[in-house]
Structure formats: structure tokens, C-alpha cells
């Protein structure tokens, strides 16, 4: 068993060594990633510098939504965010090298990199979470603790699945790759705010098509015992793992179809 993971371990280990070899570059990369996290939180902060409540959530609750969504997204970004470089491989014809190796292409692509710099953004999300959690009035039960622990992981799974869905579509789009950013980065953007501010069609889109609301908003409704807005009741918060499974099912089917559609450009 351990033997079949070895190639991936070696690949990832080499990537990590490569990224940390140049200390100063690595530090500046991590700082850049911290800055992205701080910027995203600044947006929420500025909104709440003007209002007390947004979408029926106060600042503490909105910060909780932000922290969980960001933690999930930046974990996914660290682990699989680099699959959005697939169009580069397609254009340059370097995907063929992956096809020649006796390992699944998706697994190779995912383990071909790990963006350690994104630890910076994860750090920001963890700090916001640590500050926001005690500020919220949560009636702790075993089930809610479990949900809190599970949420960042399932959120990461949702966003990772969205990244793979996006990569799958690249086999057809290539040049039009940016379309998918609307759903990966756009999904992340939407997930960091209470979904109750969206109009009903948009809320349904970001709940049932691009399940961004499952990443943080719906679980937070459960944690705070708040009723959800029309179309997205509170109990959906417990269904986050189902959303992750659904995204991955679509992602893997799409990836298979995409890879079959691919024809190399030759050498």
C-alpha cells in the first residue's frame, strides 16, 4: 500500500524543497499570500464599518462565515489550485508527458505541485476563525463541534472539486480558460458572504449548482441556530459532505470525458 504512494511522496517532496530553497523568495511569496487574505478580510471589515448587520448576520457571524469559507478555499488552493495551469500544458503539448507515465493523470497533475506560499492565506483565515469563534454565541453540542471541525475540510473538498471541474472544461476551452474563474474564484468570493444577500435565483445558483453556500454560510446557520432564507433552509447545513461528494462526482466524470476528448498536438 505504502509502495503505491511513494511516487507521489517523492514528487511532492521535491516541490516543497524547490519552493523553500530560496528563503527570501519564499518569505516574500508567503507575505503576498498573507496580504491576499488580509485584503479579502478588509472588504468584510469595511462593509461592517458602515453597517451592523449584513444579510441578517452581525460582524462576528459574518467573520465566521468569511473564516470558514477562506480556510476551505485556501486549503483547496494549496492542494489543487495549480490544476488551473492545465491550459498551459495543453497549449505547449506537455500534457503528453503525463500520459506516458503509469499513474492516473489527474493524480499526477495534483501532486505535480503544492503551493506552500498559500499557507499565508490559510494563516489569516485561522486567525480570523480563532477571533470570531468566541465572539459568537454558540450553544455547543457534540454534533455542532463535529460540524465545525468538518466544515473547513468539506469546504476544501468542495472548492477542490470545483477546481477539477474547471480543469476538465479546459480540454474544450483552452483559450477561454478564464470562464471557469467565475465559478472557482467567483464561488470563493460568493461563499465568503452570507448567501442571504443574494437574490433568489443567484442564491439557488450558488447553493445547488456551484455549491459555494455549503462551504460556510449554511453550516454557520446551524452553528448559530438561525433560520435560513427562502430556498436554503438551515438543515441544508448538515448536508455539506453531500455537496462535496456531488461536486467530486461531476468533477471526476467531467475529467474523464475531458481527457478522452484530448488529442495531443504531436511533437
Amino acid at each position: 500500500m505504502a509502495e503505491c504512494w511513494r511516487p507521489y511522496r517523492v514528487l511532492l517532496g521535491s516541490r516543497m524543497r524547490a519552493q523553500t530553497a530560496y528563503r527570501r523568495s519564499f518569505v516574500s511569496d508567503v507575505l503576498g499570500s498573507v496580504a491576499i487574505g488580509v485584503m479579502e478580510f478588509a472588504e468584510v471589515y469595511i462593509v461592517f464599518a458602515n453597517v451592523d448587520v449584513l444579510g441578517e448576520l452581525d460582524f462576528a457571524a459574518a467573520a465566521l462565515v468569511f473564516a470558514l469559507a477562506n480556510l476551505g478555499f485556501s486549503l483547496a488552493d494549496l492542494l489543487v489550485g495549480h490544476v488551473d495551469t492545465l491550459p498551459v500544458y495543453l497549449r505547449e503539448g506537455t500534457l503528453d508527458a503525463f500520459l506516458l507515465r503509469p499513474l492516473p493523470v489527474l493524480a499526477q497533475l495534483v501532486t505535480s505541485d503544492v503551493s506552500l506560499r498559500r499557507l499565508g492565506r490559510i494563516g489569516v483565515a485561522v486567525v480570523v476563525l480563532a477571533v470570531a469563534l468566541p465572539l459568537n454565541d454558540i450553544e455547543w453540542t457534540a454534533a455542532r463541534v463535529a460540524l465545525l471541525v468538518l466544515t473547513p475540510l468539506t469546504a476544501a473538498a468542495i472548492f477542490a472539486g470545483l477546481f477539477v471541474c474547471a480543469a476538465a472544461v479546459q480540454f474544450w476551452l483552452v483559450e477561454g480558460a478564464e470562464v471557469t474563474s467565475a465559478f472557482t474564484y467567483g464561488g470563493s468570493y460568493a461563499s465568503a458572504y452570507p448567501a442571504s444577500i443574494f437574490s433568489l435565483p443567484m442564491r439557488l445558483l450558488f447553493t445547488f449548482v456551484v455549491p459555494a453556500a455549503f462551504a460556510a454560510y449554511l453550516p454557520v446557520l446551524v452553528l448559530l441556530d438561525l433560520p435560513g432564507p427562502a430556498g436554503t433552509p438551515q438543515w441544508l447545513g448538515w448536508c455539506t459532505p453531500l455537496a462535496a461528494v456531488a461536486v467530486w462526482a461531476v468533477a471526476l466524470l467531467g475529467w474523464r470525458a475531458g481527457l478522452r476528448h484530448y488529442t495531443g498536438t504531436g511533437s
Partner: protein, 264 residues
């Protein structure tokens, strides 16, 4: 002048080749516009229908306009110069009988002109359909706004030029470029209008050229600032433009003096 115009046209053509990429970018700008407009309208609603001079309609218009202009003023990426410094191609630019800063500015403006309609039209159209747009009905704000957008594009170039010049002294630039994107995304008003900032952040923003890139053009186009106040804002933009371009020339000259390119 003829040379500048030719370089602008070439910059335009370089981008007009990739139609699908442009359409894809416009689509993404539009989706982000939807989310941004929702956040703004939500916040304005929570504030009781009016927030720092924005009501639901003008707030949504703000969100759609920044999304329509974000590609034109190029908030997210320009590292062409830095890459040429790193791989030594800058030597070719230095050997040309053209001022490098002016030549790159021309390319940047050509790109901006190309992006204006195809990247700006779809978000505005979506805005008109989804939330409605609150736009002035007299021609003057558009005229001044057009000048302001051009100035905004040039200020953005000046800032990117300066950031890129750090390639003369640093090898790995991703961190520095990211910091600039972050500063620009917040302080230009892309994320949230500068008028919503708490005092300390508004002061900080006013000390940087970033608001001149997006906030000012949008303020003028929507006639939030009119008449002499609008002229005053344009003057601020011109001052920042002169500042960043001049500083850019000085730093470039220093960097070029220090530069060593391996010949072959």
C-alpha cells in the same frame, strides 16, 4: 507622435487576436459584478437605503462600472517589463531608438482601448438588465469621464512600471507583484468604494495613486463629482500621473545603469 500611435495600434492588435479569451474574461467580470452588486445593495439596504451617498441603484451602478473598467485599467497583472529584465531581453529595448517607457505605455494604452468595449460592455449590459444603471443624461460627465479613464489607465501603467522595475534588484517578483495587486484592489475602490472606508483607511488611500485608477473615473462618469470638483479630481490624477511617470524614469535610468546582461 506617429510612432506612439503606431505602437498603440500594435498593442490593440496584440490583444484583439484572442477573441475567446476576451469573451471568457468578460463573462467572469460579469459574474463578479453580480456578486459585488449584491454585496453593495445588501450593505446599502442594511444601512437603511443610503450609504455614503449611494442608494441601491447608484451602489449597484458603482459595482457594475468598476467591473466594466477593471480589465481596461488592468488591476490584476502587468509583468512584461519585469520578465524582460529577468531574461535579458531588456537589452533589446535599450538598444532601440525609442524611449522604453513611452513605448510600453503605448502598448498598455492599446491594450486598454481594446478591452474597453468587449470587456466593459457585457457587465454594463448585465447591470442594466439585472439592477438597472443610474447614469447621467447629459454629455459632460461622459466627456470628462473619458479623459479620467485615460488618465486612470496611464496612472495604472505608471504604478505597474515602478513595481516592475524592482526586477533590476530582485530576482523573484511574485511577492512584490501580489502586494501591488492587493493594494490596488483595495485602495483603488475595486472591492468597496473608497467613500465607505473608515477615516484612517481613506487617508491612507488618498496618500497613494490607487484611487486615481478606478474610484476617480467612476465618480466622474456617474457625475458623483461634477463641475469644478470634477476638474479638481482630474488635476489630482494628472499630478499623480506626472509623479509616477517621472519617478519611473529616474528609477529606470538607475536600474539600466546597474544592469548587466550576459551577451551571447
Amino acid at each position: 507622435m506617429r510612432l506612439f500611435a503606431t505602437l498603440v495600434v500594435l498593442g490593440f492588435r496584440r490583444w484583439s487576436t484572442y477573441r475567446l479569451a476576451t469573451a471568457a474574461g468578460a463573462f467572469t467580470n460579469t459574474v463578479f459584478g453580480l456578486i459585488k452588486a449584491s454585496i453593495m445593495v445588501g450593505a446599502i439596504g442594511a444601512a437603511g437605503g443610503e450609504l455614503a451617498g449611494y442608494d441601491a441603484r447608484t451602489g449597484a451602478t458603482y459595482a457594475w462600472l468598476v467591473q466594466a473598467l477593471v480589465a481596461t485599467v488592468n488591476v490584476f497583472n502587468w509583468s512584461e517589463l519585469a520578465l524582460r529584465v529577468r531574461d535579458g531581453d531588456i537589452a533589446i529595448d535599450l538598444a532601440r531608438p525609442v524611449d522604453p517607457q513611452l513605448a510600453y505605455l503605448a502598448g498598455f494604452v492599446g491594450r486598454a482601448i481594446h478591452q474597453l468595449i468587449p470587456r466593459g460592455g457585457p457587465p454594463l449590459l448585465a447591470g442594466a438588465l439585472v439592477t438597472g444603471l443610474a447614469l447621467p443624461s447629459t454629455p459632460l460627465p461622459y466627456l470628462l469621464g473619458a479623459v479620467s479613464v485615460v488618465l486612470g489607465v496611464c496612472v495604472s501603467f505608471g504604478v505597474w512600471w515602478l513595481v516592475n522595475l524592482s526586477a533590476f534588484w530582485l530576482v523573484e517578483l511574485r511577492g512584490v507583484l501580489t502586494l501591488n495587486v492587493v493594494a490596488m484592489a483595495i485602495l483603488s475602490g475595486l472591492a468597496i468604494p473608497v467613500h465607505w472606508f473608515p477615516d484612517w483607511l481613506a487617508t491612507l488611500a488618498a496618500l497613494t495613486p490607487y484611487p486615481s485608477i478606478l474610484q476617480t473615473p467612476v465618480d466622474i462618469v456617474t457625475a458623483r463629482v461634477e463641475g469644478t470638483a470634477a476638474l479638481g479630481e482630474l488635476a489630482v490624477q494628472v499630478a499623480w500621473l506626472a509623479g509616477v511617470l517621472l519617478l519611473g524614469r529616474l528609477v529606470f535610468a538607475r536600474g539600466a545603469r546597474k544592469l548587466v546582461v550576459q551577451g551571447g
